[in-house]
């Protein structure tokens, strides 16, 4: 019988680079309640890593004593994640989401590209000087479940 999963998490941590791994591993453990493929798990980890890195680097401009919040909801086979910071905000969201927007030669500017490639939905809400909320939605494939049945 299918296991119906309804669950929620809320995670708050300091805006330190060391916490990026904590964030993606926590979300990976949370979504692993579902029968999920390794490839999907990897994609979710990359998307979370990008969103949290953006919050630290751009939202809080590397200030290590601010708070990043992740809210996660699992409803059936849908994962909804909100990554929230109270940082500087984004003036032009459309431009920020363009590939290779970054002017730093050591940065690829691909953060949003990866989020969009790996998740089914990416929404960004931002207000200058008030912060940014990135909403990531992923519908987990039921391939594993189907394979098990057949």
């Amino acid at each position: 019988m299918d296991k119906i999963v309804n669950n929620k998490i809320k995670l708050e941590f300091l805006s330190k680079g060391e916490n990026v791994a904590l964030a993606r591993i926590t979300v990976a453990a949370f979504v692993s309640q579902l029968e999920i493929t390794l490839s999907e798990l990897e994609e979710i980890k990359v998307a979370v890593s990008e969103a949290v890195s953006n919050a630290i680097l751009h939202g809080y401009q590397n200030k290590p004593d601010e708070i990043v919040t992740i809210k996660g909801i699992l409803k059936g086979y849908t994962l909804v994640l909100e990554i929230i910071d109270q940082g500087v905000g984004i003036l032009d969201i459309e431009k920020a989401m363009e590939p290779a927007y970054s002017t730093d030669p050591e940065r690829t500017g691909l953060g949003f590209v990866f989020m969009q490639s790996f998740m089914d939905e990416v929404k960004v809400e931002s207000q200058v000087n008030h912060g940014t909320k990135v909403v990531l939605v992923k519908k987990i494939s039921t391939d594993l479940k189907n394979t098990a049945v057949s």
């Binding site: 390794l38 990359v46 690829t108």
Partner: protein, 119 residues
């Protein structure tokens, strides 16, 4: 994260072990750059087979080193790409930008070929 670096002739060989993300990117960049300067290596072979996770911060390190090596008219080759890393490398365009090999042996063969051609 840890790094194994060694040089042979005019080539630096780097193996990255662990996660390549925001927190490790700066350290990896600094260690590779210092080593390139110390050894005066012109070429860089980067072994990705022991990387457990990589995001765009990690790709930035690879891209930055590629630009640097090209400026010095050297060759950079990446090898040992696990399936979990393939997608982000493909999306980033890195795989069409620089040579990709399966093993270190193949990377050396390709490097030798390129050196002969350019000689």
């Amino acid at each position: 994260m840890s790094l194994i670096l060694h040089s042979k002739k005019d080539t630096l060989i780097v193996r990255v072990l662990g996660d390549l993300d925001l927190v490790s990117a700066d350290e990896i960049r600094e260690k590779i750059d210092n080593s390139l300067e110390e050894t005066r290596a012109q070429n860089l072979l980067l072994d990705l087979s022991k990387i457990t996770f990589m995001d765009s911060s990690g790709l930035g390190v690879i891209l930055g080193r590629y630009r640097q090596i090209k400026e010095g008219r050297g060759q950079m080759i990446i090898y040992g790409i696990k399936p979990s890393l393939k997608k982000i490398l493909e999306i980033s365009g890195i795989m069409s930008l620089m040579p990709v090999c399966n093993t270190e042996k193949e990377a050396w063969e390709l490097l030798d070929e390129k050196s002969v051609k350019e000689a």
